[in-house]
Symmetry: D3
């Protein structure tokens, strides 16, 4: 069976890896759909779609996951909910079911006739992307929450400086 | 004379019917323009444009209104105010004047040279779509505020469950 | 049962009326979806979505059709085929099946699991919108091909002049 | 009075300058609206909106025209004709009338209630942007047809090489 | 050297003029890029792109600035940060460096390899467009903060009434 | 080094595999960017972005290529050439150089400062996607031109029927 797992991965953290491992233990192939893929440089979406593809690719290899069982697909937002499932399907390989913890995504998928499953979360309050971004902005120990390869990429390319620079500001000009 | 009445109808309530009756007593034909028509499954826009067309159609028939005097037209948002009146005109039959209670819509129409009229509102605090959505979310007596045919459609197609499911959440994934 | 009939209606002609009559003899309610609804002033789409709503409304009343059985819904093009059926559904009331003579529309609907039916055409070579537009441009007897109310609207509002003016030109500036 | 003159200026040629001089002899201020402003690198639109702003600015200074009487405004295409006049107005200063030689632009402006004037053309077959692009592609004497400052910009920044490189190809990948 | 200065100019105030004078004392030519150019009639963007072009044009002439050294270019928002610098460049003449006080714009430009400079601000708390809009809404002495020609345009065309009318409301219908 | 290879892959054929093998013999990692990714069901773009992801994934595994060295990324068209390289970069991992045989793509990349390389083509007249689509439409021996896994997917999911059904028609309704 082929499953799709939907997230924004801003950035990839150890909770995501935990979920991906669970799904791969149940399914033959996994499509990882990266939502809001066209955005970067905002407080909620600091990393570009391409950077998030890179995070996932390196983290999964680091984990020893067989890359021939995984698809990593950036999916831009279209901001029109009744078209979203058709949009997701148009950019991803065929799938049999979906995994998500978000109630709206679950509702949209179910209304379109897609079977939706859940996985157990790894300490959600700690392993959340929002928390990682908060620590990045404030200088806390964000590195402990993300895979080592992701931390290395963020530091090598100075993305941590970007997150701080765009911190609380919005594009005001 | 032909008039246009602009609303979002999320959902149609008895105040809308009250306004439509007033306008039809003054004008020959009425175009009901459903704004934000492309959206659904959000807290402010839970019902799709097509569902709102369906609500209005059934409610007006239930009221015994002559459907040959009425046009029901979904109008997607374009989010660019200086183009909005041209956009409205491009999707609706020719009209002589407009009805709205919203000061921005009034301003846009007047700036484009359209005559704008008002109707008396039916107890605005009670008969408002925002109030109906709130009652739908919290389990209050929303049915008393909407036409019976609209209540029947909402329940038959389990749209009330949808409103509760997407309640306070936003598409976070 | 509720059916949807999809066309561009540039302009409404007697073949369309023929088809609508056939469908209404089979189905309880009919949604007439006007495609490419955002366009006007082009050789292929000279009439706006709103003008086409107006054409259909007047022509059906002229034919004595019960307007409480009919929905007339403008549907803007989105130009992305894999999302089109979801887009159509989001702007129209719920429907049970669809009518179209176009092989691509048929394919898109069937791929999305919608039942598609056909009707017998009224002399296609003669009663086609393309032919009517050609006659409008060249000054032939286009009036014989459209319902009298549609001819009256076109002449009253000088849309025939518009068709000739934009004739063979494209927006070149 | 304030006038608007609409063109694509791909590139600016001596016929454009001839027209601009005529209009400035009649009107107090002139807005030059550059259409299709978002495009570049296509056979019909090889130069970017910003490059065309630059062409006009330098050519008018070269001609000794008083720049305090002129506005140069790039206007991206929206591809929806019934909204185009509202779009043009939203990006330009208020104007009293318009100049164009294109019948569709004339029709759109007149349908929106804008007065449209014409100017005498300078040998249209020779001084046309299409002809200049053709000569650029084939290596003819295009320089004779454009203002010297425009020829200098095209050569300095190797835009002539770009026109040849994208010559007859389309983005096929 | 050619510089670009990026702002929204809602409306132009004396602080903007102060900045423009500083830049022109350092650079040969200045491109003034008007951001969010497609919007008007909102609390944050009450004036259209074209009205803001008009404000700048008249204010600079009033200041005696040589208009042959200045470009005024409306730039619509695209809402996708990683494409914004390419978008800015596509609509403006070639530039050597940029001026902005906004940290996000600075970051986007620097990430794209553009040199960014700063100017000294003129009493930011007082000379800010947000403050001018607030005074316009509440009836304070906004005229003291803007160039006389801008105040004259706002009053002549009753834009002050517009700012008050759309004051705190959003398009709710 | 990381390279990007840009194509539409409508569908993947043996020439593509030949090129991918060449690039992987030169570079450490390869990003395969699938252009026009949002489209399907047209004569030129019959297969969806997701289907093309699936084609590439299965064909590369079949070839024994190490999937930890490859990224497969669908890239929707934006139809604005001067933004295209920024758009490509925003959706893909960081790359050092690009491979393409298309002169326009080469020009856009070079104008944006990206190094562009070429590979030797495998009998271009025979191994072209256009030729494969033509054979699919006319019933020729298309299977010989594509990897066996791609042929199997096309037949299993009846995509060959789709190509024939949409053959020469356009969405006319």
């Amino acid at each position: 069976m082929v499953a799709v797992f939907i997230g924004r991965f801003q950035p990839v953290h150890r909770g995501h890896i935990h979920t991906i491992r669970q799904i791969l233990s149940e399914e033959g192939e996994l499509i990882i759909a990266i939502g809001s893929a066209q955005y970067s440089h905002t407080p909620d979406n600091p990393f570009s779609g391409g950077e998030r593809v890179m995070f996932l690719h390196h983290a999964l290899i680091e984990e020893g996951i067989d890359m021939s069982r995984v698809y990593i697909v950036p999916v831009p937002d279209i901001h029109i909910h009744p078209l979203w499932v058709a949009h997701l399907k148009s950019l991803t390989p065929y799938f049999d079911r979906a995994y998500t913890h978000n109630p709206l995504v679950r509702r949209l998928l179910e209304d379109a006739g897609v079977e939706v499953c859940e996985t157990k979360l790894l300490e959600r309050s700690r392993f959340s992307a929002e928390h990682v971004r908060e620590l990045l902005r404030q200088g806390g120990n964000w590195e402990a929450l993300v895979p080592p390869s992701v931390a290395a990429l963020i530091k090598k390319h100075k993305m941590d400086e970007r997150v701080r620079a765009i911190g609380d500001t919005r594009l005001k000009r």
